[in-house]
Amino acid sequence: MSTATTLPDAPEFPGGSRLQRFAWNVRHHPKRELWFAWYVMVVFYNLYGVLFFLVTRVQPPPSPDWDTPLVVQWFDEHHLGLLTGFGVVFLISGMCAPMNALLAYSMWRMSVSRVFAYSYLIMYSLAALPGMLVMAIAMTVGALRADRDPELIVWMYDFAFLSFSGTMGVFLVGSVVWLVAILLDKNNVFPKWFAYLGLCNALTEVVVAPAWIFQRGAFAWNGAIAWWINMVVFILYTAAFIVLLRRMIEREDFGTGPLPDPAAKAEPVKAAR
């Protein structure tokens, strides 16, 4: 944690070993709540990547065009990975809460109405259910019994992938809420380019809609357009806001006015010492 700006009520930063510093930060760091949420977010996205791409292997998604025996075989091969992987997902998906709270806080810190923060908070809290947990439940049930009627297993397969890719509105409207807040904001919490990037992210949710319609080709749920290009945008967008939130926390002064510029702020602090 690079910003140990000591506030009056915090005791002097002791230095010492890594562990001591960590303990000091947990006990006294003025921004500990924000850093907590930020680290939870980073850990969450890392776990998300590992669980979805490596453990359960549901990303990149298999094809919707497979015939029934192939789908059954896929569930067979991934039986243990799916069940344990999604077990971990069920254990940790509550980490969305601090993440969404931090995103809502960024809007709360802006010079805009509280409507934005609360709308975003509720929308994204809702989003995790159809967008992640229902998918995980459908996958778990699909993998649960290998001797189930194959037709039903295919039904679970469709249910899982379509609920995952096909949950669009909450992310679409959520991104728009955030970007409008950024454009209206006068406190400089986020740069304007991130708002425009948010528009790109919102449009990916439009682009994914044909996944509900096509079973093969570029627009299917594993297609070049509906999955690959969208994934690139999503990863860039997520990486951008992780970095920008970090910068926001570093600049945070717990006031209500514009967030100070990091370069401009360095001078007075030095002068005060």
Binding site: A195, Y196, L199, C200, V206, P210, A218
Partner: protein, 195 residues
């Protein structure tokens, strides 16, 4: 940074980025995404050329050309609007902004008319691979046009009151609208001309 470089030759008018640099990032990024869509389209097209050509024959080039010229005109109008606003001629700027909206509306009407025509011919989103791409690209573009109307609304709102009139914002809005234009120029070439 640029100011330092420019201060050496004082005679040249200062070079500056039109509008927010942030918007330029969006322009290039969004156009890159479209390039991705075009690449997928072109690559798939070569795999099944005859089918694509067969479907493509149902498109009416005249509508495409007309729509392209309409959008080019709208782009011209918004460029005039920016110049007028810069010169302080806000009345004229408002006229050109209104003209831009007018051209945009004509474009949208003809676009929807073309869709209706194609659907009557039996060419729908699910009927052939070419028309998948056709409807996908044109509707995504039309969404950009609709967002463009909001952006132009912001522009007109800026121009209306002497209290606002931020030239930077006017240029930012215009930059967005030009993006709508040049994306269409590329979509037009991709869908109507490419063989």
């Amino acid at each position: 940074m640029t100011n330092l470089a420019e201060s050496e030759h004082v005679t040249v008018p200062p070079r500056r980025v039109p509008g927010q640099p942030d918007m330029w990032l969006f322009v290039l990024f969004e156009a890159m995404l479209f390039t991705g869509y075009f690449s997928v389209y072109l690559a798939l097209r070569t795999q099944n050329e005859d089918l694509f050509l067969q479907s493509q024959a149902d498109l009416d080039l005249r509508v495409g050309v007309f729509n392209t010229i309409v959008l080019l005109s709208s782009s011209w109008a918004v460029a005039r609007c920016v110049r007028a606003a810069r010169a302080g001629q806000y009345r004229s700027a408002m006229t050109f902004a209104a003209a831009t909206v007018g051209f945009g509306v004509v474009f949208a009407i003809f676009k929807v008319g073309e869709w209706i025509h194609e659907i009557r011919l039996g060419n729908t989103f699910t009927s052939s691979e070419f028309f998948q791409h056709y409807y996908f690209l044109t509707s995504l573009h039309l969404i950009h046009v609709l967002i463009g109307f909001i952006v132009l609304g912001v522009l007109i709102y800026q121009l209306r009151s002497p209290l606002r009139r931020s030239q930077e914002l006017v240029e930012t809005c215009a930059t967005y609208w030009h993006t709508v234009d040049f994306l269409w120029v590329m979509i037009f070439a991709m869908l109507y001309i490419v063989r």
